[in-house]
Amino acid sequence: MVNTPEPGGMQPDMKVQIAGKTLPNPVGTASGTFGFGEEFTGLTDIESLGAVYTKALTPEFRPGNSPPRLAETPAGLINSIGLANPGLEGFLRDKVPVIRKLPCPVIVNVAGSTKADYLKVTETVNEIDAVWGIELNVSCPNVDHGGMAFGTDPVVLGSLTSAVRRLCSKPLIVKLSPNVTDITETARAAEEAGADAVSCINTLSGMKVDVRNRRPVIPRGTGGLSGPAIRPVGVAAVWKVSKAVSIPVIGLGGIAGIEDALEYLLAGASAIQVGTAVFSRPDLPGIILEGIREYMTQQGFGSISDFHGYF
């Protein structure tokens, strides 16, 4: 069924509501692909972004993993960055002044090795007015401790989310790992523990072997696979999760064009994030936003909620 376009070409309402707060539009940049918001200055219109999801932040400075940290695969990219980040001290000193100047909402991606780590970062970040919300990173596949371990067991995830929830008065988004048997279980655990939204999916565990030297390209063996290669997995996850929970679902994984974003929205996402494709086409989020707007206008949808989760 296609709605009749409204006469006079009314501008569709692009706003997205999460926990009573508003994002100006549904198109954000995924954590780990957009630094802390300043790196792409001059190459993209940051003002048009629905949100910047920052690089993961841990209490302590982390140098990251030994190189090589990247491997390219068909329509995909394996990364093993290892949560390289400036830590709370560096974040407060160097990144918060940048975030204050960004003309779009900033959602800080919070990570750690222990529950105490997550709580420490949440407590600090929650006090920063310029931060719109928190995205809990329980799905990083590239570290020895914490990371994905918090995101694959629903009970552990629920316990961590509740604890963070108590310290977080901003919108709390839990980023789900696809490296589980049933992603709806972890999604439900996050919702029951008080998450305001879930984002899915983080990277899939992947590996590339250097056949000439007979060893994995990434020194740790496996890394996180992103890019168009994982898009069908992400769309399926969003479809399943959006039917299992009643909180908003933010879709990501392999979005590299307008139709990709529409797939996610139609499958149930209230918002989306563009990640790996931003590296190659920094202006893609703005192009996707305009594409969604055009689609809505042509199809006669007045707001995102009119058509997301269409089937």
Partner: protein, 269 residues
Amino acid sequence: MNQDGPRTRGVARIFEQRSVARGFREITLSYALGYQGPVNPRPGQFLTILPHRYPLTIMRRPFAYSGSTEKGFSFIYEIRGSNTSDLADLDDGTQVDWIGPLGSSFILPSPGSLPVLVAGGIGVGPLYYLARKIAEAGMKSLVVLGARNSELLPHLDWPENTELRICTDDGSAGIHGSVLKGLEDVDSRKFEHAEFFACGPRPMMAAVHRMAEKSDRRCQVSLEEMMACGVGACQGCAVQVSDSDDLSRPKFKRICVEGPVFNSREIVW
């Protein structure tokens, strides 16, 4: 190393491509009509281009500038995989999506010094550009060029006052041996005022670094690593650097922003 400066993203047209050795090509691109962006990339800086088979190939490809005019720029590439082989097949006039100039550049040699440029394989691109900038400054360079064999030796128009030493692994041209052999033969008194610039395979750069360190001369190297964003966001192109403050934990720098040109003493070889 020299850093910063504006960078831009644009669409350029292929002006011409030519083969410079077997499997090595130099491509020249023209800025788009009415282009208003930066036109002065420095030797050592690089650009990235969007592969034609994007998004099947998801990452941009980084290339060091081998030349620049107010009309456009060039880089030398090696046909190594499907994307560089696509690039070689593109007709003149084809549009290419590029971002540049990116990264740090070589600090030009100080007056009175002898610039020694050591290039291995595809590492010749940025040094070819550097040699011409050095010549423009009225200085003479010693260029030591290494290749596996004579067919792989790039044919380039080096500035007139360049002393060129060719080295091939199989002895099919020039000195029989690596660039290090080529350097050994140089009168050691010359090195008293040398400043080294190296780009090529990592073991080669490490060896040039050690040679420079031994004679207490400055050595700048241009590094390469897999790169996703090219602007410092993803931290994928890390290189381990020495950190005198704390030797117990590794410290990394991003090749795309703090590099690709580093003082060789910074790098953990």
